[in-house]
Subunit: 326 residues, 2 copies
């Protein structure tokens, strides 16, 4: 381990809220020098607290050689924070004008070949790179909380992002234990947050309509789909739910449900083209593995996961198990 | 273990597709006599195959005393299948007219105090109980695939369902290792499937719009939110993402995003009333546990889960980790 990609030595983290601090923890654990900037009062103390919270998990995951909390330095200005950095991670609040103004400062002082990764959850990189001197080095690098544990990072290029920037960013984030997912088309909310946001909005509707409490919504996810989603996403899950014929059967059987009011979200038309995309996508993902083999793997995983959930997580009262004769 | 609730001895399973077979496996593993009916050719052989697939997982979870695959009997008619059953689980294809006609037959031959549980994913129980002689004993009992492992079962009462039926059904499903979640209001798609369907429809839009492949959508779930959802639902997840002030801060910060086009689903108006419902819901769920303690638990769980995922699940090629200098 250590500084695996020799071109990246110093990382700057601009904005130290929950996400910025998560990045700091991950970068330090991976053995980097980290320079931070946040104008808010008490920021440094909050970062120290967040690091203390994160460190035991990072020790369990495994620290890189030379990883040290003391390799973090707070700087009083953006200029001082970014001027020597090889990668700059921006995490200021999700307001377009604020992000653009901070990115303009970063752009003014950063080394020409530094990569600027924005943690924005929703803003498109083409919007963020408007007006930058060196827009080609900006990319969206959107992580998930807790950033120091969850592997996903979405990489989104803007119209002016250099291909080389995407390649370098992908290598870098992969080298620090992450799963970089390059998004093919920039849209607001990128990819993962659109999926989450759809579920989140439906959840808000259900609470708003008095169908369920927040705790009941949570229970409805945890004890069902949530367990499956730790292992496979919605497509492969439904591929397995379709029995031997997989997604092809699934779409025949549940395709018509797309017309039903099962959510407040209108579905796209299930055209032959979309059907084929979905079916061949699942079949190619599954590859040579039979549905039965996928099921076996899924089952073994779920049995272990259930016992893990039981040992770590308190009962919800939403499904209070009535005491019954055993 | 064994037949824990003395009033339930024999279970009938009507319709033996993926869901019906999942129920059969769970009921047999819990030590019940199971009587099955399915008019399709080869149904019995397919059920045997499904049982062979499920049994090793059930052995790992732990069989009840007397659990035996040989305690399954297929009957040639619905009448013979249901006439002695204490609980009848209906799992025929999701077509309203078909379900109603099968339920009418079950209703005609079932014992008066038997419970009829329908596995319907979307149809409201009030619709299913129209025209039944004894509608008071019908309830929706909607499970999740694989039924013999996942604990969630949604219980939904129709307008004519007796309160006693809900209580008995809740006790019964809890006694066979499940988490019965009683849904407060009947709506199409119940609760869990509405959340899943919203995510599923958004996923179909993204594939349809060329933003991502099915495998990329799956990766966007698995390596991020999916890992969290195995442990906590969307509300508690966002409660923790809000930092020390929890959901209250979260709604201030990301509330405005509800107006943005981050999904094709329109959000409800974030009224003060809805805000309070969501905030107090999360605070009451978290109870006396501080955000820091919740974070610690989450972290410990996620670290173990990540190593579990790694050991059980193949890499996706959507996030191909570039070989980098270590």
């Amino acid at each position: 381990m250590g500084n695996r990609l020799s071109e990246f030595k110093k990382i700057a983290v601009i904005g130290t809220g929950v996400i910025g601090n998560g990045w700091i923890a991950r970068f330090l654990a991976q053995g980097f020098d980290v320079i931070a900037f946040d104008p808010a009062e008490g920021a440094q103390q909050r970062t120290q607290k967040a690091l203390d919270q994160a460190w035991p998990s990072l020790v369990k995951i495994g620290l890189a050689e030379g990883a040290d909390q003391n390799r973090l330095t707070f700087m009083p200005t953006i200029e001082q924070a970014v001027c020597e950095a090889d990668l700059i991670q921006e995490n200021v609040p999700e307001r377009e004008e604020l992000k653009k103004s901070v990115l303009a400062s970063i752009d003014a002082y950063a080394k020409e070949d530094a990569i600027i990764g924005s943690s924005t959850s929703g803003i498109m990189p083409s919007v963020l790179q408007e007006g930058l001197k060196h827009p080609e080095r900006l990319i969206v690098a959107h992580p998930f909380n807790p950033v120091y544990i969850l592997p996903l990072v979405e990489l989104v290029a803007g119209q002016k992002t250099d291909t080389h920037t995407i390649d370098r960013a992908k290598s870098f984030y992969a080298s620090i234990g992450m799963k970089p997912l390059v998004i093919q088309k920039e849209i607001e909310g990128h990819l993962a947050d659109r999926l989450m946001e759809a579920l989140w909005r439906e959840a808000l509707h259900l609470v708003n309509d008095g169908v369920a409490t927040t705790e009941e919504v949570d229970a409805a996810i945890i004890y069902g789909a949530g367990l499956r989603w730790a292992q496979m996403g919605p497509f492969l899950t439904f591929h397995l739910a379709g029995g031997e014929k997989g997604m092809r059967h699934m779409l025949e059987q549940f395709g018509p449900a797309l017309k039903l009011p099962w959510t407040k979200l209108e579905a796209p038309e299930l055209t032959d083209e979309l059907k084929e995309k979905v079916i061949t996508g699942c079949e190619s993902h599954a590859g040579d593995t039979t549905i039965a083999d996928l099921e076996n793997k899924r089952n073994e995983f779920l049995v272990e996961l259930l016992s893990l959930v039981k040992s770590y997580w308190p009962e919800t009262t939403a499904t209070d198990n009535i005491l019954v004769e055993k």
